[in-house]
């Protein structure tokens, strides 16, 4: 079939089953946009390229398959990079397509030229600059394969505009063979046996589950294992929702902003069963304190994560779901009642006192209430800042998902990711939670949800300041507040009104239930601003 490079790009996406892409056009990607109109692929025009990346991330995390974002050369591609890096640290599969200046002009600093494969190198799983059109079909095939297998992540394809215009004979390959890339899926049988034995021998085992659970929906098997062997579970921020929040064996998020009972459990356990987590500094601040005092089973699909932050006694490389399946074939029923009862007692004793400020919404109680009234399978997307910690610790996940930027902590993530998640499963409730700071980094995306009818449910926690930095300056810098006040911010509900988005503001918990009801019932985008007190703490 004789096609142009641009037509071939569209055919490649169709062959990969792509239904929706997120992007922003420009001169160097124009041939692709031209060819796109002949396809049934839906293009979502965002209002800034970074949000195309976040939207693709939200879409990919719900579908668990690589999602596509597109930008033009130079500034368009560079705007995408923050989102690419965000997806990279959280292992989200993306295929990132960027236009590039014509091959003959590369390296001459021409208009809208940037070395994008070079700039993106630290944040991509792999990247390609297509210099020969004959490589194009293979590159697309490989990109989807690499992004979606092993430890998932973004793959970038930079396509010079003259390659998009060149004609060639197109055929899409059926298979991939990359000699340097053979990810391990199944766990080593000998190691599986050792892990099974370690679980039965342990007196105080503890499961630490991370975001790796969601790449292949390993969460159901994880719960089965926890229940069969009566093993308490804690999660990292990325692992939230790996087990329902109210499951009796769940003791909360660990780490700097986690639950005390979860952190103490990691110190007292005699076996840590770490699965799909890299144990970054926010999860375990000082792994050296734990090493040697307990046995560590570390299960990860990326061998480089094992032993990087914490020494592992029993390393096990493979896909979490497959490995849990192998373990479930071997591990007999067992109990750890004394350990569990001790944690239960501690959890019951530790009841944080929630301070109630007059004329304000208590964000923690509000989010608890919101999660009780939302659909059981609702997706909640938290932005970054205090709103992220409040949502992580107080929004109860049942069958739903908790999406956030765990590794990079990128403010301005939630609306893009929310749009992507909603388009991935239009029937599912998608709620975003952000602050008035992060909202102003991404409020241009209100137009995107109007243009493409994406009925996102937005909650904004407003305190006219960058709450988390304010709190840090209050506690660690003797209250020397610097650069944290958001004076000059717009009236957010009125701003939403300018887009035709229904919106309201509430000040009191008495108003919460009714307002949540309206938010959840809306079949258009809906914005609910909650006024919170400046001294509300993250924890």
């Amino acid at each position: 079939m004789q096609l142009t490079g641009a037509q071939a790009m569209v055919k490649c996406l169709e062959a990969e089953g792509v239904k929706v892409i997120f992007g922003y056009p420009g001169a160097a990607i124009c041939p692709f946009y031209d060819a796109l109109t002949d396809s049934s692929i839906r293009h979502i025009l965002v209002r800034q390229e970074q949000n195309a990346g976040h939207a693709a991330s939200g879409y990919a995390r719900i579908t668990r398959r690589p999602a596509v974002c597109v930008a033009t050369s130079g500034p368009g591609a560079l705007n995408l990079l923050t989102a690419v890096a965000t997806a990279y640290v959280d292992s989200v599969p993306l295929v990132v397509i960027t236009g590039q200046v014509a091959r003959s002009l590369i390296g001459k600093d021409v208009f809208q030229e940037a070395d994008v494969t070079g700039a993106a190198e630290p944040f991509v799983k792999h990247s390609y600059l297509i210099k020969d059109i004959k490589d194009l079909p293979r590159v697309f095939k490989e990109a989807f394969y690499i992004a979606g297998t092993g430890r998932q992540g973004p793959v970038l394809i930079d396509v010079p505009v003259d390659v998009q215009n060149e004609r060639f004979s197109f055929s899409y390959p059926d298979s991939v063979n990359i000699r340097g890339y053979k990810p391990t899926v199944k766990g080593h049988a000998g190691q599986i046996k050792k892990v099974a034995q370690a679980i039965t021998e342990a007196q105080r085992p503890l499961i630490v589950a991370g975001g790796g659970l969601f790449a292949t929906e390993a969460r159901y098997r994880l719960v089965e294992l926890a229940e069969r062997c009566e093993i308490p579970v804690v999660t990292t921020m990325m692992g939230i929702g790996g087990i329902p929040t109210e499951h009796p064996l769940y003791y909360g998020m660990l780490g700097m902003h986690g639950k005390q009972v979860a952190n103490r459990a990691t110190q007292e356990a005699d076996l840590l069963f770490v699965i799909g987590a890299r144990l970054g500094d926010r999860a375990v601040s000082n792994p050296a304190l734990l090493e040697g005092r307990l046995r560590v089973v570390h299960i990860d699909i990326d061998p480089a994560e094992i032993g990087k932050n914490m020494e592992a006694n029993i390393p096990l490389v493979g896909d979490a779901n497959v490995i849990l399946g192998q373990l479930l074939e071997q591990v007999p029923e067992c109990t750890h009642s004394a350990w569990r009862n001790m944690l239960d007692r501690r959890r019951a004793e530790y009841r944080p006192q929630l301070r109630q400020f007059d004329g304000c919404i208590n964000p923690k109680l509000f989010l608890e209430r919101l999660s009780e009234l939302a659909d059981p399978d609702a997706v909640v997307v938290a932005d970054v800042g205090q709103n992220q910690i409040w949502t992580a610790n107080h929004f109860k996940i049942r069958e739903g998902r908790f999406l956030t930027t765990g590794g990079m902590g990128t403010m301005g993530y939630s609306l893009g990711a929310g749009i992507g998640a909603k388009l991935a499963e239009p029937e599912r409730q998608v709620i975003t939670v952000g602050g008035d700071g992060s909202f102003q980094m991404q409020m241009m995306e209100l137009a995107t949800m109007c243009q493409h009818q994406v009925p996102l449910k937005m909650v904004i926690m407003s305190n006219l300041r960058l709450g988390m930095v304010y709190e840090l300056q209050k506690n660690n810098f003797a209250g020397n507040y610097s650069g944290v006040f958001l004076d000059g911010s717009p009236d957010i509900p009125k701003l939403a009104g300018a887009y035709g988005i229904p919106a309201e503001r509430i000040h009191s918990m008495d108003q919460a239930d009714a307002a949540i009801g309206r938010l959840l019932k809306a079949d258009t985008p809906y914005l609910l601003e909650c006024i919170v007190n400046q001294d509300e703490s993250s924890l």
Binding site: T117, E121, A304
Partner: protein, 162 residues
Amino acid sequence: MKYTISTLVENHAGVLSRIAGLFSRRGFNIDSLAVGVTEDPTVSRITIVVDGDDYMVEQVEKQLNKLIDVIKLKSFSAEELVRRELAMVKIGTKASERGDLLSLSKIMGGKICDLSNETMTIELSAESERLEEYLELLRPYGIRELVRTGTIALQKGNVSFG
């Protein structure tokens, strides 16, 4: 301790910058690095010498393995390998010193590859530690310029890697 990491990679543009970027990003120190095509023209071999502890070498290996362009790699200690490093040394010479230098060069297994009325360029090939010793012996004569390739190495004996 020094480790030599032999790395087989795809022979195409951008691979070396990925590897160099990885080392600087992760804070790994490279003692030397040498690249060249192998018996298979689609494959290049990169020989990297790093100085570090077991933890670091394990991390280097694992992170390198994550690069899609890396086909295979293995780290070796010095005893497992035959190792060579090539150097060219340009020395300022008076006519009266030439005889001395010639005989020194002969002992070192060197070759005179350029000669002028003021300079002599000696080509030396040896294990890098031995090369250091040779250079110390040449230093008193006045080294004007020195260029070294970095270590290349192959496993000893019947085994082959690749």
